[in-house]
């Protein structure tokens, strides 16, 4: 990442995903905006240190964003559960009764996951990271990252199908 133009491209490609991840993790709009801004600011400052051999720009950005989010969590001493405090009127879905029930079940299932599992879901589903990118962001091996994602998704599926 050696030029402003590339950072701009990365912003257009990943800013929304970074925000969604941070918002899911921090459960606070303002904190999520702060973390998103910090992530891009740090990426700008450290752009000369980016090494393409170590991962994609997206994985590098999420690694920075994750550190900023965890710093924010620690700084604020917030013991916020990683429940997804999301609006009920999410766009793009059929607004029938089944969907409403299904979305409620998903929200409850997400709330029941361990924090690290919810983070994995956020990075995978909102961040759109591949397993390799996840591994880079979480400083894990790719196989380990894949295993953890699989476990989190399995647990989420089971929770969604569990009787209320």
């Amino acid at each position: 990442m050696s030029s402003t133009l590339e950072l701009e491209a990365l912003f257009r490609d990943a800013a929304g995903d970074v925000y969604a991840y941070a918002r899911t993790l921090l459960r606070d709009d303002g904190a999520a905006e702060d973390v998103t801004a910090q992530a891009f600011e740090r990426a700008h400052r450290r752009r000369e240190r980016y090494d393409p051999r170590k991962g994609t720009p997206r994985a590098w950005l999420f690694s920075i964003a994750r550190n900023a989010a965890l710093d924010e969590l620690r700084r604020r001493s917030r013991t916020a559960a990683l429940t997804t405090d999301l609006p009920d009127d999410a766009p793009g879905l059929e607004d029938d009764a089944d969907d409403v029930v299904r979305r409620a079940a998903v929200r409850a299932a997400l709330a029941g996951l361990e924090p690290r599992e919810r983070e994995l879901i956020a990075l995978k589903f909102h961040g759109g990271l591949t397993n390799a990118e996840l591994a880079r962001a979480l400083k894990l091996s790719e196989s380990n990252a894949g295993t953890r994602v699989h476990r989190a998704v399995t647990k989420l599926r089971e929770a969604c199908h569990a009787p209320a």
Partner: protein, 381 residues
């Protein structure tokens, strides 16, 4: 396959659903799950997104300059610090070596005063010690002897020379020293060469004409490394003059007694004169020998040569004296490279443990920071 091991088919279906592609009917619920989770995806406020995009586009130019992190400051100074450390190590390693080599080449001073008592023989010590004992001991690294005395003075010169070289060269150095004495028309007074297992020394006493002593010393100094040199000069002019005067007196006495003997008239007188004549003749012989000894001491300089083996390999032809040749330059260059390699090895010996410690410290700090961050995530449960 165990429950928590990734199922490639599920993984493929998940990736396809995340990409928005169609999935197999068996994984329809997974696609639905992706759709429902993503439906709850938080969205950025458009105003915030626009403002941030503007800052990114400007390279955060409008922002206050971010304070430089200590790590960045360290990176800026790192080359200078590395050069300083390398220079310090080089100084620590090279200077003592150079100074140590210089210290080995010493020129010591021999005891100076040589009492030259006159009239030891025959005269019975009637001659007092005189100013001839103003032994002039000088030390110098030059090849030349001390400044010669004024014309007409009779000066004795004794020089001690210590040469060093590899054990295997001691014999050849001794042979060369003998050849030097021959070339200046001198001779070898004593010679001892002791070369064997773990030892190699040679001691020679050369006598060379005083007026060619400088040439001899110059030639000897080129045979090997000169480790020590002592020089001593003694002015024997007055001793020689005194001996000469006493010899002339003894001769006059002898001649007078001889004349008196020829004119003696009685047997008693003849007997007495003959005894006195024998004593006078003996005194003439003694003083003549004394004068000859003094003349030899002043006409022939003494050079005591000691050759010490250093135990190393034999010197090559290139080590010998003479003009500085390309071969010498190559040797010097190799010496420089050897010293540089030595400095590098010592620097590495010091730097590697330091780097390991620093690396471990950095790793520990990094792991600690990471653990602290991860704890924040766990605390959010």
């Amino acid at each position: 396959m165990r429950q928590h091991e990734p199922d490639p088919a599920v993984e493929a279906a998940l990736d396809a659903a995340l990409r928005g592609d169609a999935v197999e009917p068996d994984h329809a619920d997974l696609a639905a799950l992706v759709a429902h989770v993503r439906a709850q995806r938080p969205a950025m406020d458009p105003a915030f997104a626009a403002a941030l995009e503007e800052r990114v586009a400007s390279g955060f130019a409008a922002d206050e300059p971010a304070p430089q992190l200590p790590a960045r400051r360290w990176r800026a100074w790192r080359p200078a610090v590395a050069v300083a450390v390398a220079a310090s190590l080089a100084a620590v390693v090279v200077l003592p070596t150079v100074l140590g080599e210089d210290d080995e080449l010493t020129v010591s001073e021999a005891p100076s005063a040589m009492e030259e008592g006159g009239g030891q023989a025959g005269g019975g010590g009637e001659e007092p010690s005189r100013a001839e004992n103003q032994a002039d001991v000088q030390s110098s690294s030059d090849d030349a002897l001390p400044a010669p005395d004024a014309p007409g003075r009779a000066v004795e010169r004794i020089t001690g020379l210590t040469l060093t070289g590899p054990d295997a060269t001691v014999q050849s150095i001794a042979n060369e020293a003998i050849a030097v004495a021959d070339r200046v028309e001198g001779f070898v007074e004593t010679s001892t060469v002791d070369v064997g297992e773990g030892r190699a020394t040679a001691d020679l006493t050369l006598r060379v004409p005083t007026d060619r002593a400088d040439d001899a010393l110059a030639a000897l100094s080129r045979l090997a490394d000169v480790r020590e040199r002592t020089q001593q000069t003694t002015d024997l002019t007055e001793s020689l003059d005194s001996t000469q005067e006493r010899l002339e007196d003894a001769r006059a006495t002898r001649d007078g007694l001889r004349n008196a003997l020829e004119e003696a008239s009685s047997a008693e007188e003849v007997t007495d004169l003959r005894e006195r004549l024998e004593e006078a003749r003996a005194r003439v012989r003694t003083l003549g020998g004394e004068r000859a000894g003094l003349r030899e001491r002043t006409s022939l300089a003494t050079i005591d040569v000691e050759v010490r083996g250093t135990g190393g390999p034999p010197a090559t032809q290139d080590d010998e004296g003479g003009a500085w040749t390309p071969g010498d330059a190559l040797d010097d260059a190799l010496d420089v490279l050897r010293v540089a390699a030595g400095v590098a090895i010592v620097a590495l010996a010091a730097a590697v443990p330091l780097a390991v410690v620093l690396g471990l410290a950095v790793l520990t700090v990094g792991l600690f920071r990471r653990r602290v961050r991860e704890r924040a995530l766990d605390a959010a449960a």
